[in-house]
């Protein structure tokens, strides 16, 4: 796991606040907790200086009071750097990473639709993946969301009844 250790050293040298936040989970898997305010810098450094040029996916999680976001970045040698950051549910604002990974826009749209994240600076475009008439403030991947909450709220359903 020499390469994994090198990555750990390099990251903690560049960002001293990460020193005790890097966990090598197993060969080729590294998890790092990154504070929200420095997240963009760390992400950019990993992508441009450490060759983690492939954003596999962004996972969004609801962990009670906070929303958690894990950015899974992969490199040609098979190592995956999982950068984790959190934002409070009361104000879940994160900054877009589409300036680093243009292909990441669709994953950010999913965070907006399914978890109610607010992504600052995301390019204008169509929503994904929920329907156009999905009610506002209903985020299906939040733990307190139940399918029953949809009952009677769909505009399309009303139209069908009236029609």
């Amino acid at each position: 796991m020499a390469n994994e250790e090198t990555i750990k050293t390099e990251l903690s040298r560049k960002f001293s606040f990460l020193a005790d936040k890097i966990v090598i989970q197993r060969v080729r898997r590294i998890f790092v907790d990154v504070p929200q305010e420095r997240f963009h810098d760390v992400c950019e450094f990993a992508a441009k200086k450490m060759e983690f040029s492939n954003l596999c996916i962004i996972t969004g999680l609801d962990d009670g009071d906070n929303l958690q976001f894990i950015y899974h970045l992969a490199r040609m040698d098979g190592i995956v750097l999982n950068l984790r950051t959190t934002a409070p549910k009361s104000n879940p604002v994160i900054k877009t990473i589409t300036d680093i990974f243009p292909g990441g826009v669709i994953y950010e749209r999913e965070l907006i639709d399914l978890l109610g994240a607010k992504v600052e600076g995301i390019p204008h475009g169509k929503r994904y993946p929920l329907p156009d008439d999905w009610p506002a403030n209903q985020f299906p991947l939040r733990k307190d969301w139940k399918p029953e909450m949809l009952e009677g709220l769909s505009g399309r359903k009303e139209e069908a009844k009236n029609g």
Binding site: Q25, N54, C56, R156, E159
Partner: protein, 406 residues
């Protein structure tokens, strides 16, 4: 010339799955492409959180009909990592065998669809006939043509006899001969070469920038294959080449898939030759400890990833799926810039898209169990309104058509 905007989909003329492309044209040339996806969003990730790991496994297998084994294996290897389960070698080899057979049927399916999109339906009939041999093989090995249900937590559910494995080798020999013939057709037949060359071009830099993966990326020189870089299952023990091509167009994508088939046949022979004896499962706990894992898997269409988080119960806390098409769709708009409208079906088909996979997630079944039905005229009015919102109005056209009928 005035620009014209036309809608392609949600009922797509080329594919049997719904997605919507709003295409802006200057004459015959595509100037801009705007996509709307999500028509197949079924809420599978949410549904997994309310099911046990084993139930979620069979639900996730239904994310996609073609690469069902990919999703189920990708998920279960993440769960097994969290649970700390060590699979018996024979189970690993059986999983790998099914994975590679799946690649054969998926690539042959693609070849047929590609043939169909360029009006070469003989190729569709031929390659789908050959694909049937693999489907029959699946039926005899697993009991099903699709959604094989081979995986379980801690191993596989069926063992294969020597005779069954010999049968696999026989079918593979036939498919290999046929694939050689298709390679000849696609690389020597002038009509195919001319129809596919220079269509849907994606430069190497754009492919890297947009995170293109799988055969689509490899045809633009992106030398990436999870089976080699992040070996899982038995891939670390197998020798194979990763096929990379620099044509950057639909022709290159066809070549990559066909040559990949030859590598797959090689791998299947190695798997069967090396197949270890022994048990096919280890005893697995019902409850999985708290922890998380990120699993990668080279599906026929490219890298499939699953993130699983366990919370110590028998149900996952979170399951996150990224099917290859979602990553590759970003490149479609780029590929189609300045292409002819008539090239759109084959260029889209060339990423081998799977929109069920992409959206993977809610039928309108209400909590009372009643299904919503929508009448034809309501649906028609809804669609007219919807298109108007997108800036497309059919009223003029309808009036003209009505006049003609008079």
């Amino acid at each position: 010339m005035a620009r014209v905007t036309i809608p392609i989909g949600p009922q797509h003329p080329a594919l049997k799955e719904p997605e919507s492309f709003i295409v802006t044209l200057n004459g015959e040339n595509i100037v801009n492409l705007d996509m709307r996806l999500g028509y197949n969003h079924r809420g599978i990730e949410k549904a997994c959180e309310q099911r046990t790991y084993v139930q979620a496994l069979y639900l996730l297998e239904r994310v996609c009909g073609i690469c069902s084994h990919s999703h189920s294996s990708c998920f279960i290897q993440a769960v097994e990592e969290i649970a700390g389960l060590q699979l018996p070698p024979r189970a690993v080899y059986i999983r790998t065998l099914i994975a590679e057979l799946e690649r054969v049927h998926s690539h042959l399916l693609w070849l047929g669809v590609a043939g169909h999109e360029i009006g070469f339906d003989t190729l569709l009939m031929y390659s789908w006939r050959d694909r049937e041999a693999i489907m029959d093989l699946f039926a005899s090995l697993t009991g099903n043509r699709v959604n094989y249900g081979m995986n379980t937590l801690g191993g596989v559910r069926r063992d294969f006899t020597k005779e069954q494995l010999t049968e696999v080798l026989k079918v593979i020999d036939i498919c290999e001969e046929r694939t050689k013939y298709y390679i000849e057709v696609c690389t020597q037949e002038p009509t195919v070469i001319n129809r596919l060359s220079g269509v849907g071009t994606l430069s190497h830099d754009d492919a890297v920038r947009l995170g293109t993966i799988g055969p689509t990326g490899r045809a633009s020189g992106v030398n990436k294959d999870v089976r080699r870089e992040d070996p899982y299952l038995a891939y670390g023990d197998l020798s194979f080449n990763v096929i990379v091509d620099n044509h950057n167009d639909v022709f290159g994508r066809a070549v990559v898939r066909l040559l990949e088939l030859m590598e797959t046949y090689k791998m299947i022979r190695q798997i069967i030759a090396k197949m270890p004896d022994g048990p096919i499962t280890v005893k697995a706990p019902r409850k999985v400890p708290a922890g998380e894992a990120f699993s990668r898997y080279e599906a026929p269409r490219g890298e499939d990833t699953h993130y699983v988080k366990g919370n110590g119960t028998d149900k996952p806390e979170r399951v996150r799926v990224r099917a290859p098409t979602l990553a590759n769709l970003q490149s479609v708009a780029k590929m189609l810039e300045n292409n002819n409208l008539a090239d759109l079906p084959i260029a889209i088909a060339a990423i081998d898209p799977c929109f069920s996979c992409t959206d993977r997630m809610i039928g309108t079944i209400s909590s009372t169990g009643a299904r919503d039905s929508i009448r034809w005229d309501n649906m028609r009015n809804y669609s007219i309104k919807w298109y108007r919102k997108q800036g497309i109005d059919f009223t003029d056209l309808n009036r003209k058509l009505a006049k003609k009928q008079e």
